[in-house]
C-alpha cells in the first residue's frame, strides 16, 4: 500500500544527492581550493601583517578587522593568513623532503636484500620509538632553531611511516603472481617496474605525501609555540598563538581563538584532501 510513496522518496533521494564519487571529488576540490586560497592570500597580504597602528590597539572583532587587532594594532586576519601560509610552505617543503626520503629508503629496503632491509627497519623503529616532539625539539635546537631548523627537524622525523608503507607495498608486489608471470612471459625488469610497480606505488606515495602535510604543519606550529622554531619576527601560527598566551588572561580571547581555528581548519582540510584522494585513487573504493 505504501509502494507509490516509497518510490517517490527514492527518486527524490537520487535526484538530490551527488553519488559518492562525485561527493568525494567535491570534497577534494573544496579542500584544495580553500587551502590554495589561504596560501595565496597569505602571500599577498605582505606588510599589513607586520604594520603597527597604535590608534587601533586591542580592537574586538568587527567589520574592518574581522579577527580583531592585537596590542600593537596589527590586523589579526592578515597576521593569521600570513602565519598560515608560512606554515603551509614549511609543511609543504618538509613533507616533500620527508616523502622523498621515504621513497628512497622504502625502495632500498625492499629491493637491496636482507641486510639493507634490516638496517632500514631498525632505523624506522628507532625514529618511531623516540617521542616525536622530543626528537623535533632536539634536532631543531641542535641546528640553531629558525626556519632552517624547523624544516630539517620536521623533514627528517616524518619519513618512517611512509617508508614502512612503501617498503611493504614493494615487498608484496615482488611476490605477486602477476609480476612473476610477466617475467616468465619475457618482460624485462625495467618494463615490469614501469608497467606494474610504479602505477601501483605512485598513488600510495602521493596520498602518503598529502597526509604528511597536516602532521608537518601541526608539528611546525607546536615547535614554534614552544619557542624552538621560527624567530618571533616571522608571524608563524605558532608564534601568534604563543604570544597571545600572555594576553589571554586580559580577556583578549580573539587573539588565540581565530588563529587556532584557522590552523585546525587547515589541518582538517589537508586530512580531507588526502583521504578523498586515497578513496578516488584506490580501485577498491573508487566507486564508494
Amino acid at each position: 500500500m505504501n509502494n507509490t510513496g516509497s518510490v517517490t522518496v527514492l527518486q527524490k533521494y537520487q535526484r538530490k544527492r551527488l553519488n559518492q564519487r562525485g561527493q568525494t571529488l567535491m570534497y577534494l576540490a573544496f579542500g584544495s581550493i580553500f587551502l590554495l586560497a589561504i596560501t595565496v592570500l597569505g602571500t599577498l597580504v605582505g606588510d599589513i601583517a607586520i604594520t603597527t597602528n597604535f590608534t587601533q590597539k586591542n580592537f574586538l572583532p568587527h567589520m574592518a578587522h574581522p579577527f580583531g587587532t592585537d596590542w600593537l594594532g596589527r590586523d589579526m586576519l592578515a597576521r593569521t593568513l600570513k602565519g598560515m601560509s608560512i606554515s603551509i610552505y614549511i609543511g609543504l617543503f618538509a613533507s616533500v623532503i620527508s616523502a622523498v626520503i621515504a621513497a628512497i629508503l622504502g625502495a632500498a629496503a625492499a629491493t637491496l636484500g636482507k641486510k639493507v632491509d634490516a638496517v632500514i627497519t631498525w632505523f624506522i623503529d628507532l625514529v618511531m620509538g623516540i617521542p616525536h616532539l622530543l626528537l623535533l625539539i632536539l634536532i631543531s635546537y641542535a641546528l640553531g632553531r629558525g626556519t632552517f631548523g624547523v624544516v630539517v627537524a620536521v623533514a627528517i622525523s616524518h619519513w618512517p611511516v611512509l617508508t614502512r608503507i612503501i617498503r611493504g607495498e614493494i615487498l608484496q608486489l615482488k611476490e605477486a603472481n602477476y609480476i612473476k608471470i610477466a617475467g616468465k612471459l619475457g618482460q624485462s625488469k625495467m618494463k615490469i617496474v614501469v608497467k606494474h610497480m610504479i602505477p601501483h606505488v605512485l598513488p600510495q606515495f602521493l596520498v602518503g605525501l598529502v597526509l604528511l602535510f597536516p602532521h608537518a604543519i601541526l608539528h611546525e606550529a607546536a615547535l614554534t609555540f614552544l619557542g624552538f622554531g621560527l624567530p618571533p619576527e616571522q608571524p608563524g601560527i605558532g608564534i601568534i598563538l604563543s604570544e597571545s598566551m600572555k594576553y589571554l588572561s586580559l580577556g583578549m580571547w580573539w587573539l588565540a581563538l581565530f588563529p587556532g581555528m584557522v590552523l585546525m581548519t587547515a589541518v582538517l582540510l589537508f586530512d580531507l584532501v588526502g583521504g578523498s584522494l586515497r578513496k578516488i585513487i584506490d580501485p577498491h573504493s573508487a566507486q564508494e
Binding site: 612473476k180 608471470i181 616468465k184 612471459l185 619475457g186 618482460q187 606494474h196 602505477p199 580501485p283
Partner: protein
C-alpha cells in the same frame, strides 16, 4: 624437447623437505598427470618445473639447459590455480594478453573468449572468463611445455570440457608437453598418458 627434473629437493622450512629427490623426465609429446593429496607439494613442484622457485638442491633442465638461465620468454609456461592473482588488476585485458607472445585469434575462439572482454578490467570478468585469458596467454608461439595447476576447478562442466577439448587438440597439434594437476579422476584419466605419484615417507 625434453624437460628434466634431476634430484629435486625443496622445503619451505629448514630441515623439512616436502619434495625429496624428485626425478621426472617429460618429453614434449607427453601428457603427464601429477597425483597427490593436498599439501604434498604438487603446486610447489609445478612452480619448480616452470622456474618460479629454485629448488634447494637439484636442477630443472630444458634440453640440458638450466631453466633459471633462460632469458626472456620461458618455453615452460605455467597456468596458475587462481586467475585473479595472475593478472594485474590495474590493466585492461588487452594489455595483459599483450605481455607475452602474440596470441592467434584461433586460440581466442577455441577458448571462447569474446572480443568485447578485451577492453574490460580483470575485476569486470568472472573467474572462469579470466582463466581463459590466462590459458590463452600461456599458449604463445614459443611455448613448448604447459603446466596446468588445477586450472578448471572454478569452471562449470560444460566450459571445462570445451576448454580441455581445445587444449588437448592444441597441445597435440603443436607437440606441446602437458603437465596436469587435478583432483578430478575422470579428467585425469582422459588427459594423462602417464602419471607421476608424489608419495610420502612420513
Amino acid at each position: 624437447m625434453i624437460l628434466e627434473a634431476k634430484g629435486i629437493s625443496f622445503g619451505y622450512k629448514k630441515g623439512v623437505n616436502i619434495l625429496d629427490q624428485v626425478q621426472i623426465t617429460i618429453e614434449s609429446h607427453e601428457r603427464v598427470g601429477i597425483v597427490a593429496p593436498s599439501g604434498f607439494g604438487k603446486t610447489t613442484l609445478c612452480q619448480i618445473l616452470s622456474g618460479y622457485i629454485k629448488p634447494t638442491s637439484g636442477q630443472v633442465l630444458l634440453d640440458g639447459k638450466d631453466i633459471h638461465k633462460i632469458e626472456g620468454y620461458c618455453p615452460v609456461q605455467m597456468i596458475w590455480q587462481h586467475p585473479e592473482k595472475s593478472v594485474n588488476p590495474r590493466l585492461r585485458m588487452k594489455d595483459i594478453i599483450a605481455e607475452g607472445d602474440e596470441i592467434e585469434d584461433r586460440i581466442m575462439d577455441g577458448l571462447g573468449i569474446e572480443r568485447d572482454w578485451f577492453h574490460r578490467f580483470p575485476g569486470e570478468l568472472s573467474g572462469g572468463e579470466l582463466q581463459r585469458f590466462c590459458i590463452a596467454r600461456a599458449l604463445g608461439k614459443r611455448t613448448k611445455f604447459l603446466i596446468a595447476d588445477e586450472i578448471s576447478t572454478m569452471l562449470d562442466l560444460i566450459t571445462q570440457s570445451q576448454i580441455w577439448k581445445f587444449l588437448l587438440t592444441e597441445v597435440a597439434e603443436r607437440k606441446i608437453g602437458l603437465i596436469v594437476v587435478t583432483h578430478s579422476n575422470p579428467l585425469m584419466e582422459r588427459i594423462a598418458t602417464r602419471r607421476v605419484v608424489l608419495d610420502t615417507q612420513l
